[in-house]
């Protein structure tokens, strides 16, 4: 469904220096799967995701969606492709001047859907995300979890084929995170929606993703089926990642990196026991 080949993204920072955010990234996201992209902060996860809907223009490489090359698209053609992809964000990015109803109606409004059809669709979506009673509420009157539900409903309004999620649960508490991930999983199952999920939370990947790519300093260091990759991590990065989470859990949130590789591996086994 989504094929990314030899993708490179170079930013020019404020002082004119070159920041290589992505280097030779190759990925294949299959139709109907929940694909996780995990890695530490600054690894290039958001940049990679934003290249898929051209919020960020790649410096080099190719991205095809259902065989259509998107990297060269501009103007109207780009807007049409974008309407086939929904996106949700860490900070929800709802319009504060609009109610829940009108936020969900927004993508329909901009694609010229009639009021009658809009009403039907929005009511359907409100039911899907369980916010029928919040139709008239403004974002300022909603909790984080409710805002993300509005974000999901809005992203699904135009019946996209793909949903892009950028740290969609990172601003939420663990319980709300589980319920949002549950909602995404059920949407994936029921509608066969392809989901690409960027996160730095191992838990989120474990709970929701069929496949995962681990990315560090702009490079994909490892990818595969989630259970396989997390039970037999092939790289130090993945191990360290699983380990860090473990240590963070054990020591109550403070990160500590054991220097000894053996220790890392033995601890990783502990994690694996937990995971599997």
């Amino acid at each position: 469904m989504i094929r990314i080949r030899q993708l490179q993204k170079v930013f020019t920072d404020a002082r004119g220096g070159r920041v290589i955010a992505l280097e030779n990234v190759n990925l294949h996201v299959k139709r109907g799967e929940v694909f996780g992209i995990i890695g530490p902060s600054g690894a290039g996860k958001s940049t990679l995701l934003r290249c898929i809907n051209m919020l960020e223009r790649p410096t080099q490489g190719s991205i095809t969606i259902d065989g259509t090359e998107v990297t060269g698209l501009k103007g109207r053609d780009l807007r049409i492709i974008r309407r086939q992809m929904g996106m949700i964000f860490q900070h929800f990015n709802l319009l504060s001047s609009r109610t829940t109803y009108r936020n969900i109606a927004f993508p329909l409004e901009i694609s010229g859907v009639s009021d009658y059809e809009t009403k039907e669709r929005v009511e359907q979506l409100l039911a899907l995300v369980g916010l029928e009673d919040k139709a008239k509420a403004y974002p300022s009157e909603l909790s984080g979890g409710q805002k993300q539900r509005v974000g999901i409903a809005r992203a699904l309004a135009t019946n996209p084929k793909i949903l892009l999620c950028d740290e969609a649960t990172s601003a939420l508490d663990p319980r709300t995170t589980r319920s949002i991930l549950g909602l995404l999983k059920s949407i994936n199952k029921e509608y066969g929606l392809t989901i690409v999920m960027v996160t730095h939370q191992v838990e989120a990947v474990k709970q929701a993703c069929h496949s995962v790519a681990v990315i560090e300093r702009g490079k994909v260091v490892e990818q595969g089926r989630t259970e396989e990759l997390f039970s037999r991590p092939g790289t130090e990065t993945t191990r360290g990642f699983l380990e860090n989470i473990r240590v963070a859990e054990v020591s109550g949130g403070s990160f500590k990196k054991p220097g000894d590789t053996c220790e890392v591996q033995s601890r990783a086994k502990e994690v694996i026991k937990d995971v599997c």
């Binding site: 809907n53 919020l55 780009l78 807007r79 049409i80 492709i81 974008r82 309407r83 992809m85 929904g86 996106m87 964000f89 900070h91 990015n93 709802l94 319009l95 504060s96 001047s97 609009r98 927004f106 993508p107 409004e109 901009i110 694609s111 403004y138 974002p139 300022s140 809005r154 135009t158 892009l164």
Partner: protein, 209 residues
């Protein structure tokens, strides 16, 4: 006498607010969207407009008023009277409104703009459906500020026969030393400014969610 002068002031300020908003709001929006990284980046246009706005803003109102008399005459056919005063008042207020709108629109969360782009919104849709509604409370507060400033400027315009409360204050209060008239005018102006502010605050509150 006071009632007539008050209505003249209301007329001058009211029309100037409308005209300067009609020009200043689009100008402010253009300043934002044509800037580096904006949704319709055009650096050359941006710099030219910014230069015009800055230049007009840096000319003191009294000087601007005299400097554009030919232009005023060209537009209204006269250089004196309340209608003529609307020209310099509007010219002075347009760049002010533009800057206020620019600042307000820049405050709109870039994430929200990005979300609209990701949904396939066109630049015009982003302006009309995202930037303006999201910045509306701040824009209204800015236009209220413009109106209050214009009340002060309109009193100055009175000095060149613009009519209104300022004109009355100069003719009776200053030239004839009628302190009673002056005091009444000051009270009317205070009430007028407070009233304008109250209405502006009320509308801004209505559109804040």
């Amino acid at each position: 006498m006071f009632v007539d002068a008050l209505w003249q002031t209301v007329y001058m300020v009211g029309l100037s607010v409308v005209i300067s908003s009609l020009w200043g709001i689009p100008l402010g929006l253009i300043l934002v969207i044509t800037d580096t990284g904006g949704i319709a980046e055009n650096i050359a246009l941006n710099r030219v407009l910014a230069f015009i706005v800055n230049t007009t803003r840096s000319i003191p109102f009294v000087i601007l008023m005299f400097a554009i008399i030919p232009f005023t005459r060209f537009i209204t056919g006269s250089a004196i009277g309340a209608t003529a005063a609307i020209v310099p008042l509007s010219v002075a207020a347009i760049p002010f409104v533009a800057r206020v709108v620019e600042t307000s629109v820049r405050e709109v969360d870039s994430g929200v703009i990005e979300a609209a782009q990701a949904m396939g919104a066109s630049p015009l849709q982003i302006i009309v459906k995202v930037l303006v509604p999201e910045a509306l409370p701040a824009i209204i507060a800015g236009i209220t500020l413009t109106a209050v400033n214009l009340i002060g400027y309109s009193a100055m315009a009175g000095a060149i026969g613009g009519g209104g409360l300022g004109d009355l204050a100069i003719r009776y209060g200053y030239q004839r030393f009628d302190m009673r008239v002056l005091a009444i005018i000051v009270v009317i102006l205070i009430v007028f400014v407070q009233g304008t502010q109250l209405i502006g605050d009320y509308i801004a509150k209505k559109v804040t969610h």
